[in-house]
């Protein structure tokens, strides 16, 4: 049996080792750095299945372990972060020609090694976020993730779009971190603790401090809303997603969002356990969810660039996930979020890997670059078709089960208006996702030659397509991994 704590340590050591090793291997092809990273992370991913969820049995935890939990949810999201990073590294390998073009060094691969190693540190940060049950720990791991993303987003330093994205992400990221910390100080000031479980206990005895607590909650929500791309903290998303290197866009939209949601689950559950705050927190979350759904889906409609489209779609999916967050007082909501994110991982990473492969051959990632892909490369077109259908929520794909669980959680909690808004926006989603399908199958290609796909990429694509189908019919493995999700703060029987 492996202690879950060692997983992060192993990831960190891998990252440090590769960083040093890479700097002593200057004149060589740097692809092997990514290869070693993929191999090491795969081993850690396999090892994580031998780790058992441990919830502080035998008295309260002491020392640093007060910050840390390794419940089923945390373990699930650790695997999630590992898998995401592995696939992001695969995409990075496909993308290296573009990165090379925008970094001039002594030789063609100079300065590209960090592009493969920094994501590993991000991964460690994401894994710590999954386990964080203390505002201090949340903040530190959040910063590890965010700062490594500052570097990665602006990585292509001779590309003005990448730099623009980097500046925007830096400024708004710093601002949102400020909001987050300010919110934490309010909560700390009232409850006298940063530990979530102790916060929950303390808050229950402070019914008179509703206003300040809610203010603190809203500030924290702003900080996390930035991570998960919720309205009104989504302004950075389209530009950063479009400008950043595509593998990093994929990483942002999957890894960063998932970690944001796991923290959000823990924070929201803490606040929902306080009876006097319960309804107000749900009202705030419902409003955010409704606006996120409407904004993301409606703004996606006119997009012509696929990366930008996926940026808005990422906002839209944050909206569906927020429906489940607003339903967290019900039993099925946190596993619904977990499943939704797992499906979202498969379909989003699948889209991005196809985007990179196609953009390498056609020279752009506008939807027009995908015209006639069905005739040119039927396999790639089929993969993107499945990704789009799953994103839209067609049954027998993982994306549909995700939406199904989310709507089920919402209806169970009586969120009928939110569900209705969700339905209308699903209709909009069908339009913009099928716009890509239309380009691939209805329109004629610019060139007839098939697009070359490397073996590693085609293997990954095949795996992801298969996974979307399998989990679209048998969601049970994921649901089992998520079951018995213990709640950080014991939720009292809420009296409404």
């Amino acid at each position: 049996m492996i202690q879950p704590v060692f997983l992060e340590v192993a990831v960190l050591i891998t990252g440090l080792f590769l960083l040093i090793y890479e700097s002593f291997a200057q004149d060589r092809e740097k692809g092997f750095v990514a290869g070693m990273g993929i191999a090491a992370l795969t081993i850690i991913l396999i090892a994580s299945f031998f780790a058992t969820p441990t919830i502080n049995i035998g008295g309260p935890p002491t020392g640093a372990m007060q910050f840390y939990t390794a419940d089923a949810l945390a373990l699930f999201f650790k695997r999630f972060a590992l898998l995401t990073t592995i696939i992001v590294l695969v995409i990075s390998l496909e993308y290296r020609d573009v990165v090379r073009k925008f970094i001039y060094g002594a030789h063609s691969d100079a300065g590209i090694g960090e592009f493969y190693t920094i994501p590993i540190f991000t991964c460690a940060g994401l894994m710590w976020m999954a386990s964080a049950v203390d505002f201090t720990m949340i903040f530190v791991s959040l910063e590890l993730v965010t700062i490594s993303f500052y570097i990665l987003v602006a990585y292509m330093r001779r590309n003005s779009n990448s730099l623009e994205a980097g500046v925007k992400y830096l400024v708004l990221g710093a601002l949102s971190t400020g909001f987050f910390v300010y919110g934490v100080t309010w909560i700390f000031g009232i409850t006298g603790t940063t530990n979530l479980a102790q916060c929950a206990t303390a808050m229950r005895f402070l019914p008179s401090c509703q206003g300040p607590l809610l203010f603190g909650f809203m500030l924290v929500l702003m900080g996390l809303g930035f991570k998960v791309a919720a309205v009104p903290f989504q302004f950075w998303v389209p530009d950063v997603y479009q400008g950043a290197p595509t593998p990093i866009t994929a990483f942002l939209s999957v890894g960063s969002k998932a970690a944001g949601f796991v923290v959000l689950i823990r924070v929201v559950e803490t606040f929902l356990s306080v009876p006097v705050l319960h309804d107000k927190v749900i009202a705030i979350l419902s409003a955010v969810a409704a606006f996120t759904l409407l904004y993301g889906n409606l703004a996606a409609l006119p997009q012509n660039n696929l990366k930008r489209l996926l940026a808005y779609s990422s906002i839209a999916h944050a909206g569906y996930l927020l429906i489940a967050v607003a339903s967290l007082s019900g039993p099925g909501a946190s596993s619904a979020i977990g499943f939704y994110l797992a499906g979202y991982l498969m379909m989003t990473l699948l889209s991005f890997i196809v985007i990179v492969v196609v953009a390498n051959a056609t020279g752009g990632d506008d939807i027009a670059n995908f015209n006639g892909l069905g005739k040119r490369s039927p396999g790639l077109a089929f993969a993107l078709l499945i990704a789009m259908l799953s994103l839209a929520g067609v049954p027998l794909t993982a994306g549909f089960f995700g939406k199904f669980f989310v709507f089920a959680a919402a209806i169970d909690q009586g969120h009928y208006v939110l569900s209705a808004i969700g339905i209308v926006t699903v209709g909009a989603g069908f339009y913009y996702y099928l716009k890509v399908v239309r380009a691939m199958y209805w329109l004629d290609p610019a060139a007839e030659t098939a697009i070359p796909v490397s073996p590693l990429a085609s293997f990954t694509i095949t795996c992801l397509v298969t996974a979307i189908f399998i989990f679209g019919v048998f969601p049970r493995p994921i649901m089992d991994a998520l079951s018995d999700v213990p709640i950080v703060a014991p939720v009292l029987a809420v009296s409404r």
Binding site: V394, F400, F404, F407, I423, G427, Y441, M479
Partner: protein, 500 residues
């Protein structure tokens, strides 16, 4: 056995996409499915009744969600309809420009989706299989359609996507309206526990189901997707969609809403009657105004949905039996009409009435077939449509005998004018296309040769069911009788039916 019905088309589609001989594989799969369906029909013990050939695979035990297949009389006739129309649709498929395997694979997927939906006894997969047909339809209309195909494809896809998600909300709501221990997606279990549904949410769930299914069935005023889509769709796609897929919603109403929520169905009967009169009268008059054969057929299929709704709204054994029979009959007749229209379009390149005329002279067989199909569609005796419309009208009218001039009786009296309306447009369509002076351009057209057989197949089954409606009625009547006898939920006059 039932699993084969779903797997055969899917495997055939995969084989076709991977390079198997396209037409042979596709047609072979369709015939094989027809044989399997006939086998299931003959193997069904009507004396025992109930659900048979159950196949159960647990998917999510916590949710009581399972992959559950099974048939009873009602689903058997829908499977039979699907199998017959699939055979005919694949048979009449014209030469395909471009990617022929994808064309046939899409059709096979539509067929698999319909088969799966009609054979599923689990709400989740019942829903999921229907959605499987959505994307092939989008591709078929978008790539191989005619006329304003792009906007038609968008319209049908978004309408049906929103409709089916409304339906999904209704189904999830239904699931949660049961007490925690009884929550399941298993239709057979739900039917036993119908009385346990939370009374407070019944009406809302019924409305979600009614409008969710209603959009899929082109219930007025959500019907505008249908005519344009059918007019633009390639002939086999129009046959499959108008003939089979659109019946999914009606089947769902009979299968789920009727046994589980008869109270709200009665409560909202007035609303449904108004809407269905919109289908019959408004869409009927719109049909008369059409200037193209394909649009006219599209509108006529919208209009005929009104009769089926009327049968459902009557909520008694006569009316619902009529509705079930009419689903079968209309599926065959509209498929035959679209097949014939497709043949005409292939030969002349147009379906505009003013450019056609006198085609019965060069093409007597096609003209005769169109005449028969048109008569069937109007509801002339000898075709199953007649038997079913009679039942629908009797059922709906009888429902009001407790109080004279009730809403049902008024609605029936108005709906009867639909027969006149359909006679007007069908005969006008027949005259415009096949009678009158012939345009010189069309004098040399060749009549249908081997392709007369799929049309004959459709019409023959239609006449068989028309002369012996007891064959179908005997299958569906016990199912509906059981649905309507849900204890303590519905107090309506009882009536026993003697088959011929």
């Amino acid at each position: 056995m039932l699993l084969l019905l779903i797997l055969v088309p899917i495997l055939a589609a995969a084989a076709v996409l991977l390079g198997a001989p396209v037409r042979k594989t596709a047609n072979g799969a369709a015939w094989l499915n027809l044989l399997i369906t006939l086998g299931a029909l003959l193997g069904y013990h009507s004396a025992t009744g109930g659900y048979q050939e159950i196949l159960r695979v647990p998917i999510l035990p916590d949710w009581h969600l399972q992959f559950l297949l099974g048939v009873d009389g009602l689903s058997l006739i829908m499977l039979l309809l699907t199998a017959i129309v699939t055979v005919a649709a694949l048979w009449v498929a014209p030469e395909v420009s471009g990617n022929e395997p994808a064309y046939f694979a899409s059709l096979l997927f539509i067929s698999a989706g319909a088969m799966g939906a009609f054979a599923s006894l689990d709400l989740f997969f019942f829903y999921a299989f229907h959605e499987l047909a959505l994307i092939p339809t989008f591709l078929l209309i978008g790539i191989w359609g005619t006329g304003d195909r792009q906007s038609a494809a968008w319209k049908i896809t978004i309408y049906l996507a929103v409709g089916s998600f409304i339906l999904l909300l209704g189904l999830i709501g239904l699931y949660f309206s049961f007490p925690v221990e009884q929550r399941t997606f298993d239709i057979t279990v739900l039917q036993q526990h119908a009385a346990l549904i939370n009374p407070g949410s019944r009406n809302a769930i019924y409305l979600a189901l009614l409008f969710g299914f209603g959009i899929l069935i082109s219930l007025f005023p959500f019907h505008t997707w249908a005519p344009t889509a059918y007019a633009s769709a390639p002939t086999p796609a129009a046959m499959m969609h108008a003939g089979v897929l659109k019946k999914f919603g009606l089947y769902g109403l009979l299968r789920i809403a009727l046994p589980l929520l008869p109270g709200p169905a009665q409560h909202y009967a007035g609303l449904l009657l108004v809407l269905l009169l919109g289908n019959i009268l408004y869409a009927g008059l719109a049909t008369i105004g059409q200037k193209r054969l394909d649009l006219m057929l599209g509108y006529s299929s919208v209009m005929h949905m009104g009769y089926i709704f009327l049968g459902f709204a009557s909520l008694n054994l006569i009316g619902t039996t009529g509705a079930a029979l009419l689903m079968f009959a209309h599926g065959l007749s509209i498929a035959a009409l679209f097949a014939i229209a497709g043949q005409v379009r292939e030969r002349t390149g147009t379906l505009v009435f003013t450019e056609l005329g006198g085609l019965a002279k060069p093409m007597p067989v096609l003209g005769f077939a169109f005449g028969l199909a048109a008569f069937a569609s109007i509801g002339l005796p000898g075709f199953a449509n007649f038997a079913s419309e009679i039942l629908v009208f009797f059922g709906a009218f009888k429902n009001g005998t407790a109080s004279p001039y009730s809403q049902w009786q008024v609605a029936t009296l108005l709906a009867l004018w639909g027969v006149v309306i359909s006679a007007v447009y069908m005969l006008r369509g027949y005259r415009a296309v096949f009678q009158g002076t012939i345009n010189e351009r069309w004098a040399g057209l060749k009549d249908v040769t081997t392709l007369r057989w799929p049309i004959i197949l459709l019409l023959a089954v239609l006449m068989l069911a028309g002369f012996f409606p007891g064959l179908i009625v005997g299958l569906v009547k016990p199912v509906l009788a059981q649905s309507l006898s849900a204890p303590g939920l519905l107090q309506l006059p009882n009536w026993t039916y003697h088959p011929y």
